[in-house]
């Protein structure tokens, strides 16, 4: 089970009225390498992974939900006061037609989230390598998002999220190290 703390992992401040940026940020909400994919991927893989690294997947999967909440906050702030005309001008007319200003799990091109974005192969090495790749792809996505805005407050939160991807990748690499070492074997040198 989880305990919910009613605050964001890191503050989100948006200083520029820029509904089009919401459209790009949604990539990290419902995109293939987004936070929803990450959370569901890790929290599902953890059942069939060796005991030593279950806790890591639980912790990182949980943190991904905290990141999802930060992205949702950014998107909400950028769209909640936008007029219909502003939404249309920002390329969100199709979104408005379907969802009003509600958030939805789709990527920047409007493609809805699908479970085929994630994998659970049951092979610990295959799964952890997928997780490392997912973290690097999410890091790259954050880079491109940082490049697409000049709002320094938004950039600040995005840089925090990018750094977390770097740390997560490191931890998954360490998990692979743990699993490939044959720690029960006596070694004679």
């Amino acid at each position: 089970m989880w305990i919910y703390e009613k605050k964001l992992q890191y503050p989100v401040r948006v200083s520029k009225c820029d509904p089009m940026m919401a459209r790009f940020l949604i990539e990290q909400y419902g995109g293939a390498d987004g936070e929803l994919s990450a959370a569901l991927r890790y929290l599902n893989q953890r059942y069939t992974i060796p005991d030593q690294v279950i806790g890591l997947l639980t912790d990182i999967g949980t943190e991904e939900f905290a990141h999802l909440e930060m992205i949702a906050t950014m998107v909400y702030k950028l769209t909640k006061d936008a007029t219909v005309e502003q939404l249309k001008a920002a390329g969100l007319g199709a979104h408005y037609a379907n969802h009003d200003r509600a958030l939805f799990y789709n990527n920047a091109a409007g493609v809805p989230w699908t479970a085929s974005y994630i994998q659970a192969k049951g092979d610990p090495i295959a799964d952890l390598y997928e997780d490392i790749a997912a973290e690097e792809k999410a890091r790259a996505t954050y880079q491109w998002l940082i490049d697409m805005t000049d709002d320094v407050d938004l950039q600040d939160s995005l840089k925090f999220l990018r750094e977390r991807e770097v740390v997560h990748s490191q931890r998954f690499r360490e998990a692979v190290d743990i699993l490939i070492q044959d720690r029960n074997t006596k070694k004679f040198f």
Binding site: Q143, K159, R162, V166, D177
Partner: protein
């Protein structure tokens, strides 16, 4: 360590747009650290929250697109 690498793609004589001569990509410290050794230096709590990591050895600043 420099956390970015640069390469120079081929520039053709008939390319339609002004060339970007140098392409830059990120090589963050997790690629080099290996299994993190115990006892590494830490940021203080306030800095760690701001930067997103407790460990200077894993800190990866991103200044925005270089080109």
């Amino acid at each position: 360590m420099n956390q970015f690498r640069v390469y120079c793609p081929f520039i053709g004589p008939f390319d339609p747009c002004p060339p970007i001569r140098e392409k830059v990509y990120s090589t963050p410290p997790n690629l080099f650290l290996g299994f993190q050794p115990p006892g590494l230096p830490q940021f203080n709590a306030h800095e760690a929250l701001k930067l997103g990591t407790l460990w200077p050895a894993l800190y990866s600043p991103y200044p925005g697109k270089q080109t």
